[in-house]
């Protein structure tokens, strides 16, 4: 009787208490990505530093448990306002880079991000204003206007439904910073460390793994690739992005800021099999049209295609660029910016 009671209490409450304590000691263990952790916990809890020193896994395969996992240790830090750390902090930034998760450096350590690498190449402060509303950000009293704003948007986002105002916005729930990135609510999301939620996640992941293995005839070599998000571009996909980018350029002109637009290469277009010719040449067409409209723009696709066979420029199970990809992009962008006046506005 005593053994029955002790073991029943142990097996039911033991895991719950263990995960509760585990979460209190090391909450990062319960998060898939740093910014989930930052959103959910770090910036809502006053005494928790916005610093991630842990493992990240492939973004596209988060629903798996064991298959397609590409664990990598990363260190991600942000300033108190929620902006990704940069090597050179200054009162005035000659270059502010703006964009989505690629620019934040999803999957990368601090020093592997594009703004960090560009700053090193230029020897100048470059601000990482990723995942914020650009106009709200430029309206910050504490941030004097930069000489250049560089918008970086992954090419897969640019289509007929493109909405430039959503670039940089995080979630509808949590709006990103103007003066400060976060609202301290001291909320700890209990779902993260409930053992049953973890168990549910593991079970679903294992079920998905087994389903994929079954489909592949239990031969890991025949598993379907999950690292691409295929799509097909048409000429209609050019018009809306161009209209919005030109509009943004005009706004920058009115406020005395120089503007550069960079479509970041998409993994599907660079490496994917069977990409149709129009989709393959979409970026070149876009950049040429933008230039004709007076918007400076850089086509990174040729450089990426040239290196695609030699270097791994994207993560395996992720559509984001990796450190080598950002290194290549930073080289191209710095070549362009070196030929420009970086000291003052127009």
């Amino acid at each position: 009787m005593r053994r029955y009671a002790a073991l029943l209490l142990l097996v039911s409450l033991g895991p719950l208490w263990t995960t509760e304590v585990w979460f209190r000691i090391h909450p990062q263990a319960f998060y898939f990505r740093p910014w989930e952790y930052f959103d959910d916990l770090a910036y809502r809890t006053d005494d928790l530093t916005a610093e991630w020193d842990g493992m990240e896994y492939g973004d596209r395969t988060r629903d798996n448990l064991f298959l397609h996992q590409e664990g990598r240790k990363t260190r991600v830090t942000t300033d108190p306002g929620g902006f990704r750390s940069i090597p050179r902090v200054a009162a005035i930034y000659p270059v502010v880079m703006h964009g989505e998760s690629n620019l934040f450096g999803s999957g990368c350590g601090d020093s592997e991000t594009l703004p960090w690498k560009l700053s090193d190449r230029l020897g100048l402060p470059v601000f990482n204003a990723s995942r914020v509303d650009l106009y709200a950000f430029l309206g910050r009293k504490s941030m004097p206007r930069p000489t250049w704003v560089v918008d970086c948007v992954i090419e897969s986002w640019l289509d007929a439904r493109f909405d430039i105002s959503l670039v940089g916005q995080r979630t509808e729930k949590l709006k990103y910073p103007t003066e400060s990135a976060w609202t301290a609510e001291n909320a700890v999301p209990v779902e993260r460390y409930r053992f049953q939620n973890l168990l549910g996640r593991w079970c679903r992941g294992l079920w998905k793994d087994l389903g994929e293995l079954h489909q592949a005839g239990y031969d890991p070599g025949r598993l379907a690739r999950v690292d691409f998000q295929p799509y097909r571009r048409t000429s209609r996909d050019l018009e809306e992005p161009i209209r919005l980018i030109v509009k943004r350029k005009k706004w920058m002109d009115r406020h005395g800021i120089r503007y550069l637009f960079i479509p970041l290469p998409s993994k599907w277009v660079i490496e994917g099999p069977g990409v149709d010719p129009f989709t393959s040449n979409y970026t070149r067409e876009l950049v040429e049209r933008l230039r004709r409209e007076g918007v400076p723009s850089i086509d990174l696709d040729p450089a990426f295609r040239a290196q695609a066979g030699k270097l791994k420029l994207f993560y395996d199970y992720d559509t984001h660029l990796n450190a080598a990809g950002f290194d290549l992009a930073a080289g191209e962008i710095s070549d362009f910016l070196r030929g420009q006046d970086l000291s003052k506005g127009r």
Partner: protein, 489 residues
């Protein structure tokens, strides 16, 4: 704080239980005070605004009970009447004032308007518990008037919100017993097992049925034949698993602390007639209504006509106890009518000399089916937001709203209903299952022949089942646990 919530299971209860065991070495004074404080915290945690209502009610009723005992025979009847009246007035104000105002305003062309009054959680339960205490005090059944024991008897958190409705002597005798404060492995084993059974009933059996109930009872959308039957059956099972699951959890928690609660359910859908149903469903409410309403009204001692009237009054008030809505009055009235028919039928059978003590298997099955059907019709009225909707659903069950195809309802539904039916009609109930370690104050219910082998014992097999049920329930639990249906009453 819900029994199914993470905060309760992982933090609140373990802390309360462990410290209770620590304080128990100093007897009731320390351990009981700790339990009382924990119970008040439990109540005030979610709705601190209602805590003063509970405290005021406890202090008032304690003083009234003390006065009745102290001045027995010298105006104690007057004190009892005052106590009961004030309790009912408080209950009436919080629960029925708006209902009465809305009901009579059109008739009397009243100009005043009453805003909605927030209903303190569990007020029906703790008011009835204390009315019973006052009546017991007047009857000379109250021997212990220790203020902390009294406050704990009322506020004891396993039963506070939704029962069972306790008698004062049932709990105070246990609170006084030093043997209860010694840790016993049997209580831990049985308490944890019964709690897990309740948790499983609530999360895995009751909650998933809610999605089939709501569509049938939506106003303005008359359900077809199958939709109405599915809604009514699902609600019958949902309500049973929800409330009996709650009671199992309360029993298990109390047993983990070393105290037994009375039994509140005894397989009610296996009842052979409607009187039998009320001896098995929400047994402590039935007991209250019998001891403190039906018998004082005269019971069956003043002829069959008066008996029928007493039954009708008791059931109408029992229905109204559930809430301020005409559907509850109608539901109570319907059960009153059932009981009258049953009474007349019994008298008829006696006159004809029929032996109803040993019905055949077919006779038993027919009796169970007819009784369940009558209860099912009652639940439609009970669940419906208003009488019009209840009528629409009943018309649907009679096929008057058309007959839709069954295919659209989904296979999972039938599996759920079939599983619910098997558990309700064939599985042993907690008292039968746990008879090796009776978790209730009441004597155990003898199991049927085929249920005998399913008796619980502290074996590896049952340990594995209990652990599995706990984790299946826990993994299935929604992030935000659903409240218990009886919390609204």
């Amino acid at each position: 704080m819900l029994f199914t919530s993470y905060a309760f299971i992982v933090l609140f209860f373990p802390v309360v239980a462990i410290l209770f065991r620590g304080f128990a070495r100093w007897g009731f004074r320390a351990a009981g005070t700790w339990l009382l404080l924990s119970s008040l915290f439990f109540y005030g945690y979610a709705f601190p605004a209602f805590l003063p209502v509970l405290l005021l009610s406890i202090v008032f009723n304690y003083l009234m009970g003390w006065s009745i005992v102290r001045f027995r025979g010298k105006g104690s009847g007057l004190l009892l009447a005052a106590g009961v009246t004030i309790n009912l007035a408080a209950l009436g104000y919080f629960k029925y004032a708006r209902f009465l105002a809305d009901t009579f305003r059109p008739a009397w062309t009243l100009r005043w308007h009453l805003d909605a009054v927030a209903l303190p959680l569990g007020i029906s339960f703790f008011t009835f518990t204390q009315i019973a205490f006052l009546v017991d005090a007047r009857r000379g059944l109250v021997r212990d008037l220790h203020p902390v024991r009294y406050a704990l008897f009322v506020s004891y958190f396993p039963h506070l919100i939704a029962g069972p409705i306790l008698h004062h002597r049932e709990m105070t005798d246990q609170f006084k017993d030093p043997g209860r404060y010694r840790p016993r492995a049997e209580n831990l084993a049985a308490g944890a097992t019964v709690f897990i059974a309740g948790l499983f009933k609530k999360i895995c059996l009751a909650d998933p049925l809610a999605v089939y109930v709501t569509p049938a009872f939506q106003a303005g959308q008359p359900p077809g034949f199958w939709g109405a039957w599915v809604g009514a059956l699902s609600y019958s099972f949902q309500l049973y698993f929800d409330f009996s699951g709650y009671c199992d959890m309360a029993t298990g928690l109390s047993l983990l602390l070393g105290f037994r609660l009375p039994m509140n359910f005894n397989s009610p859908y296996r009842a052979l007639n409607i009187a039998d149903f009320w001896r098995r469903w929400h047994m402590t409410l039935s007991r209250f209504l019998r001891d403190y309403l039906y018998i004082p009204l005269g019971g069956g001692r003043r002829g069959s006509g008066r008996k029928i009237l007493n039954v009708a009054v008791t059931m109408l008030l029992g229905g109204l106890w559930h809430g301020a809505n005409w559907t509850f009055v109608l539901w109570g009235g319907l059960h009153g009518a059932y009981l009258m028919v049953h009474q007349l039928w019994s008298q008829f059978a006696v006159r004809r000399g029929w032996d109803r003590t040993k019905p055949s298997e077919i006779g038993r099955a027919l009796s169970v089916a007819v009784t369940f059907l009558a209860v099912l019709v009652g639940w439609v009225v009970f669940r419906a937001p208003n009488i019009d909707t209840a009528w629409v659903v009943l018309r649907g069950m009679a096929g008057r709203n058309g007959v839709e195809t069954v295919g659209g309802l989904g296979g999972v539904l039938w599996i759920r209903l079939a599983l619910s039916g098997v558990l309700v009609w064939f599985a042993p109930n907690i008292s039968q299952w746990m008879r090796a370690m009776n978790p209730y104050l009441d004597p155990t219910v003898p199991p049927a022949r085929w249920q005998a082998d399913l008796a619980w014992r502290p074996s590896w097999g049952w340990w594995l089942w209990a652990a599995l049920l706990f984790w299946v329930a826990w993994v299935s639990a929604a992030s935000v646990p659903s409240t218990f249906l009886y919390y609204q009453f």
